[in-house]
């Protein structure tokens, strides 16, 4: 009888859950799920302004990123054309395109408008041609004029990025990106040591900084719910 009672009690004890030993579940609101939420495309304003204000440069850049929660996959594509006179006589021309690809990490996850402060990295490559006319006067050999050109030059480099993206109105965004650019590796500059790399800047200057100021339009893939404010 005692055995039967103990068995019944044991069975009852095994069947009922112990409420004091339930592990607390992490709320879904704290988990950032990784899936594409929106696409944002835009352009860098600074090359457009430079192209308007300086006769020696014509440049453009388009930017895009995909919002995957905390992480953003970013791609930039641009082109530039430069043509200026040299103080020693002669001219320099440069014409090419470049692209950058990488990822940003958003550190403002609690912002309801998805404004972001980010840190990221980029891998970049440029392909371009350049030429120069060099003029000099030697006291013993007379006037010297050389036409030198590199028809196909390729350059690659890496960048660390940081910046802000702020929602201005509806799906219109503005922001800036600061770039820490590591020295570029260049191939194909046989006749003339590469002076300027599209998308990078001056060659041979070591680690340098760059800055972009961008405007964007965001296209959400899903309708976003506005956060509901709690009223007491």
């Amino acid at each position: 009888m005692g055995c039967l009672l103990a068995t019944i009690l044991f069975a009852q004890d095994a069947g009922e859950p112990d409420s004091t030993r339930v592990r607390p579940k992490k709320p879904d609101s704290l988990k950032v799920k990784f899936y594409p939420r929106a696409f944002r495309f835009g352009t860098d304003v600074i090359p457009l302004i430079n192209s308007r204000t300086q006769k020696t440069v014509s440049a453009w850049e388009i930017n895009g990123d995909v919002d995957c929660g905390r992480y953003y996959f970013a791609v930039d594509y641009g082109g530039s054309k430069k043509n200026f006179d040299l103080s020693t006589g002669g001219t320099y021309q440069n014409d090419g395109t470049y692209w950058r690809a990488g990822m940003d990490v958003n550190f403002l996850m609690k912002d309801p408008d998805r404004n972001m402060f980010f840190v990221g990295f980029r891998y970049a490559r440029a392909s371009f041609s350049e030429s120069a006319t060099l003029i000099a006067t030697d006291p013993y050999f007379g006037s010297i004029q050389k036409q030198v050109s590199n028809s196909v030059v390729n350059a690659g480099w890496q960048e660390l990025t940081a910046g802000l993206r702020v929602k201005i109105w509806k799906e219109f965004w503005m922001g800036y990106t600061a770039r820490l650019k590591f020295p570029a590796s260049v191939s194909g500059d046989i006749s003339l040591k590469t002076y300027d790399i599209p998308g990078f800047g001056l060659n041979g200057q070591g680690v340098t900084w760059g800055f972009n100021y961008q405007v964007f339009w965001r296209i959400p893939f899903t309708k976003q719910r506005k956060p509901v404010s709690k009223t007491s």
Partner: protein
């Protein structure tokens, strides 16, 4: 948002770092040291002249290269910027008693410093192609304004 102002200031200041300095050290002059093999310090060595291929100009015409007591003489001669090699003919003695020849090769690197600084040619990889001197050593294969000696010639 609190990162906006300091971040912008850093970026504005960093824009000053992008412009190169106009420090130009390019030259097409080769600096040579002539050394007497025999320590004969009693006689002068007179150069009638030195000719350089590519130009009709004569260098060190009538100069006394080695005075009594000297064992080393320094010369500065230009290489031909329109060619990858230059030949120097050294005419010794008041009546051109002897001639020695030295031919050097080099590469040219075309470099743009900047729009305000201009473009220059840097001569590098200086090598002795042929010579009738006893011994010629390349001390510095780059031709720069700061180089002390490029070639050491033993007479």
């Amino acid at each position: 948002m609190r990162f906006l102002l300091p971040g912008t200031l850093v970026l504005l200041l960093s824009a000053c770092l992008d412009k190169p300095d106009c420090l130009v050290s390019s030259t097409n002059n080769v600096k040579m040291n002539l050394q007497k093999l025999k320590k004969d310090t009693l006689n002068n060595i007179i150069l009638s002249s030195i000719s350089v291929s590519g130009t009709q100009y004569l260098f060190y015409k009538g100069d006394t290269v080695f005075h009594k007591g000297d064992t080393i003489a320094s010369l500065t001669l230009p290489v031909n910027p329109l060619s990858a090699e230059t030949t120097f003919n050294f005419y010794f003695g008041a009546n051109i008693d002897s001639v020695n020849t030295l031919t050097v090769t080099y590469t040219q690197e075309n470099l743009i410093i900047g729009p305000e600084c201009g473009a220059y040619v840097y001569y590098q990889n200086l090598e002795v192609s042929s010579t009738t001197f006893t011994n010629v050593n390349v001390k510095n294969s780059q031709l720069t304004t700061s180089a002390t000696t490029n070639l050491e010639i033993k007479l």
